[in-house]
């Protein structure tokens, strides 16, 4: 009855990112075009990625970026316009969802309201005609795993959001599918519960170890849950990499601006050669900074136009020099006017401007130590951790300093 493919026990630790692992799910040139009254809308545009056995990949992006459509195509709820989906070594194009060996957790849980929790959990097995004693023992072990054993006789309508979420997870886990699909499963929970469930999902994945594709618009969720983050925008895959890599080495302007909170600051800059050596200075009306040698070399080797360059600095890579113990070389510092000071506990967020009269769109944000004595209206000297900055080509968005 079951078409479930048993997982390969020789699977290596998914956290190591070992390339010898088997590919569990392969997307190849996946494209979806919707017909709209105004014509064709490209929801997903030529997305390709390999997801390894046991890996947890999070698709993240702003709403309308195509992440949910991608997930729905993997599930078989949406037919791709073009491209291939290979699941467990099988091209699943044209197969119904039930033939694909996937399980899915929906944003609104989608529990069957007329069935009890036990019946909900059991349904995927029941419809496949599993023998009743096997169904029972599976329901027992899954409900124990999720801590919902005492809810089995209740109906979904009598459960809290968090409990419903667990039942939805249980219904997905019970069948041992090739891949789990999650469609923003935590977005309907309140903030505190969301963080709790996030931690629990993490533990659950460590224990169950199934290939998972998870869709969210919440970058924090993406960073904390994933082995790799796939950032999408406008239907296109922007970057797929481990969360720290996406943060440290964003592939382009979009990824840099989307990942990180508060978001990365961007400045229009020009390059200016340094006479004495091969260094490069990066100049705007706010600052004049020296790029580290490694970055300068990469910029040198780029043969495109340097007319439209954007310099990116994360708020947390800037230090208030007045309260720091160390001294900073002058070619990494600049002065700015303090417009707003916002204490957030361990740190303070400062909204800065080139000068007191600068328009709002030229303001930028830095996150400095809470010891800072900066007051609104002050002019302070800040130091930039230059090795962590990036230079982008504004035309293509490409990060030129990777």
């Amino acid at each position: 009855m079951s078409d479930s493919v048993q997982g390969d026990d020789s699977r290596l630790d998914e956290r190591t990112g070992d390339q010898t692992r088997e590919v569990s799910l392969e997307l190849d040139g996946l494209t979806k075009v919707f017909q709209d009254d105004e014509g064709d809308v490209v929801a997903v545009d030529d997305v390709s990625m390999d997801i390894y056995d046991g890996e947890f990949v999070v698709l993240v992006g702003p709403s309308g970026c195509g992440k949910t459509t991608t997930l729905r195509m993997i599930a078989g709820l949406e037919d791709p316009t073009d491209g291939r989906i290979v699941l467990g070594g099988r091209d699943v194009a044209g197969l119904e969802p039930r033939e694909r060996d996937v399980a899915m957790v929906f944003q609104n849980y989608a529990l069957y309201p007329h069935k009890t929790v036990a019946e909900n959990l059991e349904f995927p097995l029941q419809i496949r005609h599993y023998p009743s004693d096997e169904r029972k023992s599976q329901v027992e072990s899954v409900s124990e795993l999720l801590g919902i054993s005492d809810l089995l006789d209740r109906r979904p309508g009598d459960l809290s959001g968090g409990q419903q979420q667990r039942v939805a997870l249980g219904r997905a886990i019970i069948r041992d599918p090739e891949v789990f699909l999650f469609d923003e499963p935590l977005s309907n929970l309140d903030a505190k519960l969301r963080i709790e469930m996030r931690t629990e999902l993490n533990k659950l994945h460590d224990r169950v170890g199934k290939t998972s594709v998870y869709v969210t618009h919440d970058q924090e969720e993406a960073m904390t849950l994933s082995d790799r983050v796939a950032v999408m925008n406008d239907g296109e895959l922007q970057q797929i990499a481990p969360p720290q890599t996406v943060y440290d080495r964003p592939a382009n302007l979009f990824v840099a601006s989307f990942i990180g909170e508060p978001p990365m600051n961007f400045f229009d800059v020009e390059l200016s050669p340094v006479q004495s050596d091969a260094g490069l200075r990066i100049v705007s009306d706010v600052f004049d900074l020296l790029l580290p040698e490694a970055m300068a070399r990469k910029l040198d080797s780029w043969d495109g136009s340097t007319d439209n360059l954007v310099f990116g600095v994360r708020p947390e890579d800037v230090t208030d020099t007045t309260v720091a113990d160390e001294t900073f070389p002058p070619e990494t510092t600049f002065d700015a006017y303090v417009a707003v000071v916002e204490p957030i506990g361990a740190d303070k967020d400062l909204t800065l401007a080139p000068d007191a009269d600068a328009p709002e769109e030229r303001e930028f944000t830095v996150r400095v130590d809470a010891d800072t004595e900066a007051r609104e209206g002050d002019v302070i000297t800040l130091a930039v951790d230059m090795a962590k900055t990036h230079v982008f080509d504004d035309e293509t968005g490409t990060n030129l300093t990777l």
């Binding site: 709820l77 529990l111 069957y112 007329h114 349904f123 219904r171």
Partner: protein, 288 residues
Amino acid sequence: MSGRTGLDRYRREQRLGDALESPYVVHLVLFLAVLFIVAPLVWELLTSLKTNDAVYNFNYFPRNPTLESYYIALFERGYWRAVVNSIIISSASTVVVMLLGVPAGYAFSRYRFPFDNLVFVFILFTRLFPPIGLVVPYYRIMTEFGLLNTKLGIVIANVYLWLPLVVYIMRNFFITIPHDLDEAALVDGCTKIQAFRHVILPVVMPGIAAGTILTFLYSWREFLFAFTVSTDLNSMTIPVSTFLFVGDTSVQWASMAAAAVVATIPSALVVFFFQRYIVVGLTGGLKG
């Protein structure tokens, strides 16, 4: 100054509002409404307990209550067969309408197909004709197919009359059920038909109950088409037989009232026991 008088006026309006919302006024209005609706029914019931000759006496309550009129209607005239016909026709109509209307409503709520909205509007549009405008073609068609004086002929009319309504009601019910449920069932291992049967159908059960009851009630009381094709007791329904007490020279009021009471009882019972479903059916939601 003007602020002062404005405030006075506001207070006057408040007092008037309070008076109108007082329990006495509200109950008076309700009482009048109930009287307006119930009085004819009570009169009918009282009349049915008189003899045909006693109807014209100047008293509302029967002097000697008797079931004679019921005997005349049901047995002397043999209209018990009309009751049986009504049960058969209403039940058959309801089954056919639900078997066609539920899947149709589901399809309209879930699937996009060429001209789907146009088709749906067209289904509703058929019910915008005054039915009497269709009586002549209906009669001609029934004659052609040899369906005069048959129950099948009346069932066909009922299906025509009530199917659009049920398609509309059921579509509205299905729309309130999130698509996630269908999709969860598909991913969990159902075919589309299994998803419909195991997941959607049980959830929409109150809607199906409402549609069933409404169709039965409407079919039960349908008069025009049944009257058009029925001249004998092979197919005559109870509302039609009630009308036959209107003679060329006189109306046998008591017997007519008796037949009318017999016609009303099943509807009254259905409404009494299933009022909850009728309300959800007419308001078209599954909440609460």
